[in-house]
Subunit: 205 residues, 2 copies
DNA sequence: CCTCGATATGACAACCCTGTCACATTTAGT
DNA sequence: ACTAAATGTGACAGGGTTGTCATATCGAGG
């Protein structure tokens, strides 16, 4: 919750400050990030910073809400899913969206990575609220079990966990290599294994 | 490479210092770890610390080599594998060893976790050399492909990557919950999916 | 008992960081 | 043009960190 003073600022100055925050929090964890660096990059005085934000946490929350806003604007029309889609199709669609996002705003992705790396009280609390999409996928898996697509003996939460940990690794990979086609092939191979297994038919006993 | 002065110390004093290092590096990343905390816990003076170690890096390297020594002693006899074992059997065996290790030395595991969280130049270099066991598993997978156990169209490196990212998550989980039986069941379910897939037979087209 | 090399010590310099506050400057309204 | 409120500023206090170094203490051999 930045102060009213901050909201009254020129669009351009606000952007200056926002960009400085992005730079700092993309290259350092929350704990490591330095207000000194932010004010230097944003070309404002120490006093001003504290006139805009209560403290570093306040500043970080501002950054996150701005990012969420931008993300919502960007993806507001990318939602349509086909009724015949399986959970795997939706998973791939989600992955594509994430890739698009990383390409557009690599720094935002980095901020997320740094966030996972921090384990201050403050950041741990923030991350707690982040588990909703796991439930969503578990629901999709249950749906596909009812449809006869996924084996009934599969535990939805465990399959979800697999999909997500793979997703995380794949995105990290993409971020460092920027090889979209390679990454997609890689991911499809993984999904193929998760769908049909890695052993030969004779060994499916 | 601690100094000769350090090596000449009483066993007990050396252990005192070692333990203080373990405590500090298990609860902080390398970058966050504070020499001040270590000397306080070890009950030595600032000057002594620098008489024993060149700097924090030196101290950390000492810690790691001691840990590796202990690990080698502990696992020197746990190697025997059966000729009929598949890569999955060896994977489970490796997992069990890791669990044993965590139970014996939880702090060492924490040091590893903190290590992954740090991305200082120094730590990144250290982690680079850590990828040998990935090759080993890829080799096992190739062997099992020749034996007709694993499908020939599987890319060994990708399957390896899946096994390792799952391993990492599972160990983390065990560390926090200490539910060995639950964790084993969980892991077997995941391996079942990787072996035979998650979809019903009709969908294996 | 004395001396000399090995070892222990903590004060110190130099560099980070945050949050505050008295003061300077700008802006808006009369 | 003048005043009052809003905004900008950087010095400062108080806290952290690391690595050094002059000095003190210890211990073994002469």
């Amino acid at each position: 919750m930045p102060t009213s003073t901050f909201h009254n600022l020129d669009e351009s100055k606000r952007k200056q400050i926002f960009d400085a925050c992005v730079d700092e929090f993309a290259s350092h964890t929350f704990s490591e990030a330095s207000i000194n660096q932010i004010i230097k990059a944003a070309n404002i005085s120490r006093g001003s910073f504290y006139q805009y934000f209560a403290d570093k946490e306040d500043c970080y929350m501002y950054l996150l809400t701005e990012m969420v806003k931008e993300k919502m604007v960007m993806f507001k029309d990318v939602v349509a899913t086909n009724d015949n889609d399986t959970v795997f199709d939706e998973y791939e669609a989600m992955f594509d969206k994430a890739i698009l996002w990383i390409e557009k705003k690599p720094q935002y992705y980095q901020i997320g990575v740094k966030m996972d790396m921090d384990n201050s009280e403050f950041i741990r609390k923030l991350l707690k609220g982040n588990l909703a999409s796991l439930d969503y996928f578990a629901t999709l898996i249950r749906r596909d079990q009812q449809r006869g697509i996924i084996r009934m003996d599969i535990v939805p939460e465990i399959l979800t966990e697999m999909l997500f940990s793979i997703n995380q690794k794949a995105l990290m990979n993409f971020f460092y290599n920027r090889d979209f086609e390679g990454m997609k092939k890689h991911l499809r191979h993984i999904l193929e294994i998760i769908r049909k297994g890695s052993t030969t038919e004779e060994n499916h006993v």
